[in-house]
């Protein structure tokens, strides 16, 4: 396998991993605060569409990314209002978000672009100068846009915020035991609303990355379950951002392998590639479950104990 192919492989892996990573970062923050948002598909799609439309009209990728984040945050405000403030079921509202996002973006696309099916040029890559010389990685990185690096920066900030600041500590407490946080004067609902909006914005950014960088266009339903995968990545990462980053990269490599295999003589249907991550997730969850029952109860549970439970409980 020559260098050019390896480089292409890395580029493909990164293109697949970044949207997932972005969304997973936000969902991790949300889950740590106690909110399980299964509406990520819808949030990603509105981010993808909004950014696509805006970039198409304005020519500015930066503006596109901003609008993608805003769109995602705006739709996620429904989760914040209905599930966090009004204490409705997070699962039900999440399904609603997926429906709303899917329906809205499909409708809008159909009304505006169905006939023309426009495409966007790839965004300007960030020049990395001498680093270009590194074999395989160099050329791969040299094609990456600003958004790529900003994603990793965001990951770093999110990690710092969650584990090394006061607000981050309180946010995690909201997911561990909200009554205890309230007893010391913490504002559980406010923290959760903030986490949800942040999650919405990053999901929007994830969709934006998918549309503007990875695909170069918008197609209705283009996420194909990526939003749900992000939930799993967040769960498996257990609040540790580096783990989240690692898992997202593994996913990217997976997808790239699948695509690469398709180019060889091995007959690998697209469906198998689509199916593979979900099968892997099921196996991993089963393995974790098996390990947990064999090993007895863990002191630190994998998921925040207060996840998906409304606060205050008031039954």
């Amino acid at each position: 396998m020559n260098e050019a192919m390896l480089t292409a492989f890395v580029v493909a892996a990164l293109a697949a991993a970044m949207p997932l990573l972005l969304t997973a970062i936000g969902e991790t923050v949300g889950e740590q605060s106690g909110v399980l948002n299964i509406g990520l598909e819808g949030l990603m799609l509105v981010g993808a569409y909004a950014s696509f439309a805006v970039t198409l009209a304005s020519g500015s990728f930066t503006l596109g990314f901003l609008c993608g984040a805003v769109a995602g945050a705006a739709l996620s405000s429904l989760m914040a209002l209905l599930a966090v403030r009004l204490r409705a079921s997070q699962i039900v509202v999440g399904i609603g978000l997926t429906l709303a996002g899917t329906g809205l973006t499909s409708m809008l696309y159909d009304a505006s672009y169905a006939d023309t099916r426009p495409h966007l040029p790839p965004p300007t890559p960030v020049p990395i100068g001498p680093l270009d010389a590194i074999p395989v990685l160099g050329p791969a990185l040299s094609t990456q846009p600003t958004a790529f690096y900003l994603t990793w920066v965001m990951l770093g900030f999110a990690s710092l915020w969650l584990h090394h600041t006061g607000p981050g500590l309180r946010l995690r407490a909201a997911g561990q035991r909200p009554e205890a946080l309230a007893a010391v004067g913490g504002r559980v609902l406010r923290l959760r609303v903030g986490a949800v909006l942040f999650g919405g914005a990053t999901a929007g950014l994830g969709g934006t990355y998918l549309a503007l960088v990875s695909a170069g266009t918008f197609t209705p339903g283009m996420t194909h379950g990526l939003g749900f995968l992000a939930i799993v990545v967040a769960m498996l990462g257990r609040g540790r951002m580096l783990a989240v980053g690692g898992i997202a990269l593994v996913y990217g490599i997976f997808v790239a392998i699948g695509t690469a295999l398709q180019l060889t003589t091995i007959e690998l249907s697209n469906d198998v590639i689509t199916m593979a991550p979900f099968v892997v997730v099921l196996i991993v969850l089963a393995a974790i479950g098996l390990k947990r029952t064999r090993g007895g109860q863990e002191a630190r549970p994998a998921l925040p104990p207060a996840l998906a439970t409304p606060y205050p409980p008031g039954d």
Binding site: L82, L86, V92, I95, L99, G103, D271, L290
Partner: protein
């Protein structure tokens, strides 16, 4: 609150979200340059008049079955979100093997076998999230979703692969001969699958509201710890509920294949489950109560598809409308609960009762 006042209250709370969602969608229609009056008039016209009502009834068959599947599982507070893939895979299997089965068995036996097969596919798929939850306590929201995606891909693989109709180039199964499809109710073009669906609604209603199994489901759904304490075998019940749910949803796939389509394409997903879910909750997880609400959705879907075409609007407006129903339902319940005696009538899982 007296009983009649209560009934009126529930009725109002059920109708209000529908009305609001329709109004909301009207606004969207206006924004897209269409005429809401004309649109909704078309919806009613296409779904109820002429041949329309028969199409609406036909559409209700899979919807009712999927609703039942959701109701059984949600009443136990178990989130079986695998309905999408389950429907597709069982439809693919039925569509794929039907021609062969009908070649070897008499009509009645073949039909029965295929129905059982479809239920079986749903049952087996449901075992995945069910076992993981029962044995390991793994969150069933995620596992059922993952299973759904796997099943959907499997359906595609089957249709493109072993079940592919060799005589055509597009990826689809062989079209079932008309004589092997489900017979119509005499004098109509409504196939017997609709009758089966209604029969199952009644059966499930009795089972869930009157039988000991139904009571156990209620207890499990309301307080799993008390259920265990009361001697209910929670893991066994979990599996039982999932399996019944999956079987019903699988049956929906068979009904559509044998009664309506006769064949299956790839990359086709009607997405029934997602769209009927808010209506299931609006029916307060009551099988009989779900019938009129499923009917409302069937009207919107049947009439809406044609009306949207006529208005030049994407049919995804319906998806948006359904989302609006869901959101308005949450809001209406919240507001109503605050003003009245204090409890939401929606089952736990939508709302914890708001303290008066």
């Amino acid at each position: 609150m007296s009983a009649p006042a209560r009934a009126l209250d529930v009725l109002a709370r059920t109708v209000a979200p529908l009305v609001l969602a329709i109004l909301g969608s009207a606004v969207v229609l206006l924004a897209l340059g269409a005429n809401p009056w004309a649109f909704y008039a078309d919806v009613l016209r296409f779904s109820l008049t002429g041949e329309g009502w028969q199409q609406t009834l036909t559409a209700m068959a899979p919807l009712l079955l999927i609703s039942l599947g959701l109701i059984v599982s949600f009443r136990a507070q178990l989130w079986n979100l695998g309905y999408g893939g389950t429907y597709l895979l069982s439809a693919a299997v039925v569509a794929g093997v039907a021609p062969a089965v009908f070649a070897f068995l008499p009509y009645g036996a073949a039909t029965l076998l295929l129905l059982v097969l479809a239920a079986g596919v749903g049952l087996i798929l449901a075992l995945i999230p069910a076992s993981l939850k029962a044995w390991f306590g793994t969150n069933e929201v995620i596992t059922s979703l993952m299973t759904s995606f796997v099943a959907a891909s499997l359906a595609n693989l089957l249709v493109k692969g072993p079940f592919q109709d060799p005589s055509v180039s597009v990826p689809q199964t062989r079209v079932l001969d008309l004589e092997f499809m489900l017979a119509y109710v005499p004098g109509t073009r409504v196939h017997l699958g609709v009758v089966l669906a209604f029969a199952l609604v009644i059966l499930m209603h009795v089972m869930l509201t009157r039988s000991s199994f139904g009571t156990r489901i209620d207890v499990l759904g309301l307080n799993p710890r008390a259920a265990a304490h009361a001697g209910i075998h929670v893991p066994r019940m979990t599996v039982a509920v999932f399996v019944v749910s999956g079987a019903l949803i699988g049956l929906a796939g068979a009904i559509d294949m044998l009664g309506l389509w006769g064949y299956m394409r790839t990359d086709w997903n009607p997405g029934y489950g997602d769209k009927i879910l808010p209506f299931v909750f609006l029916a307060r997880l009551n099988p009989l109560g779900s019938v009129p609400l499923v009917g409302v959705y069937a009207v919107l879907a049947t009439g809406g598809t044609l009306a949207a075409q006529r208005a030049g609007i994407s049919v995804d407006l319906l998806t948006l409308l359904v989302a609006l129903v869901l959101f308005f339902m949450v809001i209406v319940e919240y507001l109503a609960a605050r003003h009245s005696v204090g409890r939401s009538y929606l089952p736990r899982g939508i709302f914890k009762a708001v303290r008066a």
